[in-house]
Symmetry: C2
Subunit: 213 residues, 2 copies
DNA sequence: CCGAGGCTATCGATCGATCGATCGAACGTC
DNA sequence: GACGTTCGATCGATCGATCGATAGCCTCGG
């Protein structure tokens, strides 16, 4: 069979958790969306919370791996941050449902389940923090409060998942370029615009998120 | 009595809806937080959804009124946008719970209840859109995709409600100034920094949101 | 000045519905 | 006949909401 039941359960959970929220999604909603009985659901998951935690874990690991791969061996902080922005925006535009689950439902997890998820998120944000701080130290970025700026820019880029539609006037490339430009400007960066290897970012996203890019 | 039961119910709903979500908050949670029985709750509200809709309605009306008052009689789009940013950031830093409810729970409302809420939000965002477009037309702002930029900047500013703590190193004034600066830079604005009448913004916020500023 | 009647505020008890989760059994495939 | 997969039936708990009743307070006719 092309699509396994296990995959249908995961896809149903991502879709419904994103649109109706974790508490707003019932076991029976999940079962209907996955085309299974509510009893069969439990053949593929532990508790409903386990399912949510698993989704967050894999989604964050994928983003973290992609970010590390995209920025590996790039010493220039400007180039690295632009790559991080492009990758982040592409990922949020391509998989908005998964992203919204990760961003909005973190604190419905019990402390024990939340802890490793937060650790993954922190590891990812540290990639941004390092690029920004190195850029400030090198004099290519200018900001009075690097930590606050990092939070502001991350929120801006994550917001893409809330509104972007592939049927809108903007193509993915333009979107990523535009956000890279906004971030560069906000950091007072004077170096030439453009994401050096947008093509490479797209390839990584295509590889990690499936061929839907 | 200094604090009426009706006010306690509203405050309890804002707090719990913001931290646990609408569907994650039970009638009995609400009752406990408001120090009432679950039956007494219904003396002060219609359904749980009515309570949510009322919170969103008043919160958005307050923000919209404040924004109109703060920008009234200001023809300069740069000055107007900076004022909008400062007000938005201050409001989100002072009342993060209310803001998170408005931002995150809009689509748990039934279509009939959602429609007027979305209309209010659109009216507010149009203030931003007008300032940005006028600035672009006047040649003081530079952006290829004004609508996308507006969404990006709004998301950035709204994110304040997700992380800002008054016990952190940044005072409200610095926070508002910093965001105004980020927005100005992202729009390629070369005019002098600083929010012209930050004091007036603070007064409006203090008046509309209570004396907690 | 009284007390009957109405109004506001509150509650314990309980409603039917739905929640997340589990059980034992039946299916097909190797 | 063992295993992976699916399901109908059902569990106790909790959900949002409503009921009738009670206690305090204000008003106003006598």
């Amino acid at each position: 069979m092309a699509v396994t039941s296990r995959e249908r359960v995961r896809a149903a959970a991502v879709k419904l958790f994103a649109t109706k929220g974790f508490h707003g999604t019932g076991i029976r909603d999940l079962a209907q969306e996955a085309e299974l009985s509510s009893a069969s659901l439990y053949h593929y998951m532990g508790t409903k919370e386990d399912l949510l935690a698993e989704i967050m874990h894999t989604a964050l690991n994928r983003l973290l791996d992609a970010a590390r791969e995209a920025t590996a061996g790039s010493p220039d902080p400007v180039h690295r941050l632009r790559t991080l922005v492009a990758l982040h925006v592409l990922a949020h535009a391509v998989g908005p449902a998964e992203t919204r689950v990760v961003d909005n439902e973190v604190d419905v997890l019990s402390p024990a389940a939340r802890e490793p998820v937060v650790a993954l998120r922190d590891a990812y944000e540290n990639l941004w923090a390092a690029a920004i701080e190195e850029g400030v130290a090198a004099g290519v970025f200018h900001t009075e409060h690097p930590a606050v700026t990092r939070l502001a820019l991350l929120e801006m880029c994550s917001g893409v998942a809330r509104w972007y539609s592939p049927r809108g006037p903007l193509a993915l490339d333009q979107l990523a370029e535009h956000y890279a430009e906004l971030v560069s400007r906000a950091l007072g960066c004077t170096s030439p615009p453009g994401v050096a290897d947008l093509r490479r970012c797209r390839e990584i996203v295509a590889k990690e998120w499936g061929m839907s890019v």
